[in-house]
Symmetry: C2
Subunit: 336 residues, 2 copies
C-alpha cells in the first residue's frame, strides 16, 4: 500500500471515514475511546493527517496567498524595501496560519500560467507595469487581489502612499532655491535600461510608482524644462553609482532620488567630488531607511512593512476598505 488515506484508517478502525475526519477537525465531538483508537491506528499505519490538497478542494479554501514579484527572486531579496514589505506579509500569514507562495515573474510567456495555476486564495502583486498581462488574469479569478503601488485595476485594490503628492512636497522642499534640479529615477519599464534623459514624458513610464513621482515633481516645477533624469537598472546603492555620477556630471545643485538607496548613491558620488551637502548639493529620497538618520538624509518616510501587512489582509479577504498608506516628509540636513 502506498500512503494510507483516511478511508484506510477508518476501515482498520471499524468506523466511518467521517468519524476519522472529525477526529482531526472537531475532536471534541468524538467519544474519547474512539478518538484514542483512531489515533493509535493512524500512528500504526503511518497516517499523518488529512491530505492538504483534498481538504482544500473540499473546503474551497487553500490557506495560502500568492505574492507575484515583478522580478527575479534574488532581486526581491536584495532590495531592503522589498524585504520589509515581505516581512509584513509574512507576519500576517503567521498570525492567520496562512501559507505564503512566492511567484517570481519576469515578463516571460509562461508567467501568466504560473500565476494562474498557483493554489492560493488571493494575490499580492509587487512591482508591476501598467500593461502586465498578469493583472488581467489575476483580477478575473474571483479572488481578492492587492496591488502594491498601482496601477489601479478593476477587481483589485491598490495599497500605496500618494506618490504624486509626496513627490510634490519633497520637490518643494528639496528644490527650494535650486537653479539646476535633477532626478535619479527608478526604471521606467521592464527592460530596466540605465540611461540619462531630459524631462522625459510621464506617459512613457510603465511603472506607476515611478510615473506618479515624476508627475509630482513636474507639478512642483510647473515647467520641467531641461530636467536631467538619470534612470537606474534597479534599486541598488552600488549599482546606481554610475548613474549618480552621470547625473552629477550635469552639475545639478539639488537631486531627488526615488529611494534612500539611490540617494545614498548620490551622497557617495558627491563625496567623491568633494561637494558639500546641502550647500553645493541638496539631496533627498524616499523610505526613511534605517541608515537615513545617520546620513542626515531628508526623505519621505513610509512603512513598507505596514503596507505588506495591509496587502496580506486584503489578499486574505479582509473586508476593510482600502485606505491610502501614510507618508510624511522627514526633514534632515541634506536639504537647505
Amino acid at each position: 500500500m502506498s500512503r494510507p488515506t483516511m478511508a484506510d484508517v477508518a476501515r482498520r478502525c471499524g468506523v466511518s471515514a467521517m468519524t476519522v475526519s472529525y477526529c482531526y477537525n472537531q475532536p471534541d465531538r468524538v467519544a474519547p475511546d474512539t478518538l484514542r483508537r483512531v489515533r493509535e491506528v493512524a500512528a500504526e499505519l503511518g497516517y499523518r493527517g488529512p491530505d492538504p490538497t483534498a481538504r482544500s478542494l473540499r473546503r474551497r479554501h487553500n490557506g495560502a496567498i500568492g505574492v507575484v514579484l515583478g522580478e527575479h527572486l534574488a532581486y526581491a531579496f536584495e532590495d531592503p524595501q522589498a524585504r520589509r514589505f515581505l516581512a509584513g506579509v509574512a507576519e500576517v500569514c503567521r498570525e492567520r496560519g496562512s501559507g505564503l507562495n512566492l511567484i517570481p515573474t519576469t515578463g516571460a510567456a509562461d508567467d501568466v500560467e504560473r500565476v494562474r495555476s498557483a493554489s492560493v486564495d488571493g494575490y499580492i502583486v509587487w512591482t508591476t507595469v501598467d500593461d502586465d498581462p498578469v493583472l488581467d488574469v489575476v483580477s478575473g479569478l474571483g479572488k481578492p487581489v492587492a496591488i502594491h503601488g498601482g496601477p489601479a485595476f478593476a477587481g483589485a485594490r491598490v495599497v500605496s502612499i500618494d506618490n504624486r503628492a509626496s513627490a510634490r512636497e519633497l520637490a518643494a522642499r528639496t528644490f527650494a532655491g535650486a537653479r539646476r534640479p535633477a532626478l535619479l529615477s527608478f526604471p521606467f519599464d521592464r527592460d530596466r535600461r540605465p540611461r540619462l534623459e531630459t524631462a522625459p514624458s510621464p506617459e512613457t513610464i510603465a511603472f506607476p510608482v515611478t510615473r506618479e513621482r515624476l508627475l509630482g515633481i513636474y507639478d512642483h516645477l510647473g515647467d520641467p524644462g531641461g530636467l536631467p533624469v538619470a534612470v537606474v537598472a534597479r534599486n541598488d546603492r552600488d549599482e546606481a553609482a554610475k548613474q549618480a555620477d552621470a547625473l552629477l556630471d550635469t552639475e545639478p545643485d539639488a537631486v531627488i532620488a526615488m529611494s534612500d538607496q539611490l540617494a545614498f548613491a548620490v551622497l557617495d558620488a558627491a563625496r567623491r567630488r568633494g561637494l558639500r551637502v546641502p550647500e553645493d548639493l541638496a539631496v533627498a529620497g524616499w523610505d526613511d531607511d534605517p541608515d537615513a538618520g545617520r546620513a542626515g538624509l531628508t526623505t519621505v518616510a513610509q512603512s513598507l512593512f505596514d503596507q505588506g501587512r495591509d496587502c496580506a489582509l486584503i489578499a486574505l479577504g479582509s473586508r476593510e476598505p482600502g485606505r491610502t498608506a501614510e507618508w510624511t516628509t522627514t526633514v534632515r540636513t541634506s536639504t537647505r
Copy 2:
C-alpha cells in the same frame, strides 16, 4: 452563478467536460473548430482555466515545493547566505515551472501543522535543530525531503559541505603558530542567547552545522583546552559587534568565525583596537562572501546558490544520488 467550472463551459458548448479538459491540457487532440468554440465560450463565461486545486488532487501532484525556514522570514531575507540559497531554489523552480512555498517556523506549537498542511510535493529544510519535530513529520509524509546542513534523518537527504573537514582544514591554516586561538560561533540552539563560553561540549549544540564545525576545530586542536567561544544571536555583522568585542577581550591571536559576516565583525573590532591583521590577529571565516576578497579574508568557499539548486532538485523528486557539496579554502592575507 459564482465562478464558472469546466462543466459549465462544457454544457454551454454542448460538449463533454473532458473535451474542455483536453482543450487546456492537450489542445492538439481536439478538432480546431471545437477548440475555438470552447475558447470563445470560456471567454464569454469568464472561465480562466482548470482549478489548480482540483487539478492537483486529480494529478496527485501540486507543482510546488515547500521551504521550511527555521526562523522568521525577515531574518532569512537579511542573511546574505540564505538569500543566495533561496535564489538557487527559485532558479530551479522557474526552470521546472514549480511553485515555491515559504514556511517560516520558530519552534512554536503550530509549526508542525502548518508544515504538514502545505500543499507541496517535497520539502527543503533550512536551518534546523536535531530534535526539531518538523523533521519527523516531514520525513513521514512520503514526499522527498532535502535538509540543508543536516541533521541526517531517515527519509531525507542532506545537502551540505563536509563542515567538520572544512573546519579542520581552516583551523590548521588559521591557528598555525597561534598561542591563543578563539572562535566566534553561530548560535548553539533555538534560544540564540549570545554569550561567551570556554571549550563548550559539542553535544550541547543543537544546530548540526555549528556542531560539526566545532568538532573539526577540536580535531585540529586535539585538546580544546581553554578555547574561548563567543556565541552570536544570529549571522549579522552589526549585531555580532558586541560578541566580537567580548572575544577580543580574551586577547586571542587567531580567530575563526563561522561565517564571513562574523569574520567582518571581528575585523571591525580589531580595527577599533588598532590590531594588525594578520600579525597581531589572524582571522578566517566561511562562505567567500563578495566582500571577502576586498577584505583579504581567508575563508572556506562554498556555493549556497548551488546547494539551493541541489535541494530544489531533490525536493522535486530528482533521483540523482545526493552528493556532498564542494568547498575549498581560499587563502588570503588575513591569516599568516
